[in-house]
């Protein structure tokens, strides 16, 4: 579904992505790990068009996204959440999601309302529907990020540390939502530091370090990989 071929990106002398190759299969949940500064969020930024890579290609369903603008990438089926929630603070929760459904999902207003209601239901946010988004607590802000992304009807959903800062119980709620989305056939790429959350739903892991994928495979295999131990725990662990 998604192919990243030789992606490189540097900010001045700093190489953030360095010839990165990665393939995401349709219907899988891929967890992306890596220490801080490994380039995980930058990778998402390149996929959705925030940054143009200095080299390499992003293919989505066989189509080279090239210079396609950010809003267009959403409309062709790529949804994304932010690590720090970015709601439209002044709008109600429902209007946030409705705006996503109508514009990102390409729906009429009536269809958009239905889609927004479904997305809010999927994200477990119906109890906040009329509230101002800027007033939500953290868990509900994360749910709103998710609902906005789902409302765009993406085929590929990119989640950026959506479990960060949540309690174990809140994390379980979130996992239930993600399992349900995966059950509906959605392909998910999930950057996360909360390992138990990632293992609860990811079928494959990829570890990013120094702008490259250094290990990929089943969660058990990747977590047993000495190179992964080394980057997280230092030479002594290897």
């Amino acid at each position: 579904m998604l192919e990243l071929i030789g992606l490189s990106l540097h900010f001045g002398a700093l190489k953030v992505l360095d010839g990165l190759d990665l393939t995401v299969e349709r219907g899988e949940v891929l967890g992306v790990l890596g220490p801080n500064g490994a380039g995980k969020t930058t990778l998402f930024n390149v996929i959705v068009g925030v940054h143009a890579p200095n080299a390499g290609r992003v293919l989505f369903e066989g189509r080279d996204l090239g210079a396609m603008r950010m809003w267009h990438r959403c409309r062709v089926g790529i949804g994304r959440t932010f690590q720090v929630p970015r709601p439209f603070s002044d709008m109600t929760v429902f209007d946030n999601v409705l705006t996503s459904a109508v514009h990102g999902g390409g729906l009429s207003l009536a269809e958009g309302r239905r889609q927004a209601e479904e997305a809010l239901d999927s994200a477990g946010l119906t109890h906040r529907i009329g509230q101002r988004a800027g007033n939500l607590p953290l868990l509900d802000l994360k749910r709103l990020e998710l609902a906005k992304a789902i409302a765009c009807r993406p085929r590929l959903l990119l989640l950026d540390e959506i479990a960060g800062g949540l309690t174990d119980r809140e994390c379980e709620v979130l996992l239930g939502i993600l399992r349900s989305l995966h059950g509906q056939g959605m392909t998910i790429v999930w950057i996360e530091h909360v390992m138990h959350a990632l293992r609860g739903v990811a079928s494959r892991l990829a570890v990013l370090h120094g702008g490259r994928i250094i290990s990929t495979g089943s969660p058990d295999d990747v977590l047993a990989d000495p190179r992964v131990h080394e980057i997280y725990l230092g030479d002594a662990a290897a």
């Binding site: 959705v48 068009g49 925030v50 603008r69 950010m70 809003w71 267009h72 959403c74 409309r75 949804g79 994304r80 932010f82 970015r86 709601p87 439209f88 603070s89 002044d90 709008m91 209007d95 409705l98 705006t99 996503s100 109508v102 514009h103 990102g104 999902g105 390409g106 207003l109 906005k148 992304a149 409302a151 765009c152």
Partner: protein
Amino acid sequence: MLGGWLNQIVQGVLLGGLYATFAMGLSLSVGIMRFVNIAHGDLIVLVSFLILTLTTTLGLSPLAAVLVTLPITFFGGYLLQRLLLQRVLGKGVLPIILVTFGLSIIVQNGLLGTYGADTRKVAGGSFETATLMLGGGVNVGVLPLTIFLSAIAMVVVLDFVLYRTRLGARIRAVSDDVAAADLIGLPSARIYATAMGIVGVTIAISAGFMSIWTNFDPTSGPSRLLVAFEAVVLGGLGSLWGTLAGGIIIGIAQVVGAQVDAAWQLLAGHLVFLAIFMLRPEGLFPKY
């Protein structure tokens, strides 16, 4: 004596309506796109000259001339944003100030070269001089009253568009967070351009009123910008009703200042602005 002061305050409120029409477009620029268009006053003067040309060369009535300019200013605003302002938006405070300052100079010199330095005015006929006697020494000009009611109507319509329509939801989303809006499929550059088109429409309306009520010349823009800027800041960034209130406060201050001494008219407006700004720098009804 009391009737005289009451009449002056009523005249100040009505003058505030004109100032609010100047400020409405600037309030949208600041509130939505988060930049101060230094050329805002010059664009009002530019459209005033366009209206003058339409009335004198084609013989159109002022109302017909304003109606003709509405689509022109909408597309003018759209293209100005798309082709020029969008290129420097989001690249820091200085580039947008320099670009709009340059635009201001170009407009002023273009008008000087085309129309000369003479002061102009559009003839409004009997509409301009008609007066309603309300009793108690209070007289209200039909033109200022129309302008004031139009200013209220502009706020109501713009408030409706921004908070009750899909276009408004798009504009507010992009204004709130450009990247987040892009990522839910909103083409922010196009939406900003549409918002600037709406600013263009408000400029046409304010230019129509200004060209009938007051004299103008190619260098009048900066003084219009100053009043508009004061009204926006006094009202609080992002609040259209606040902008109307800001315009009214400056209008009243100017008229009352002129009542004390004619030389105090403009200074009184600026002093009241400064006093309120010092006490409440966020403005009276801020949204941001």
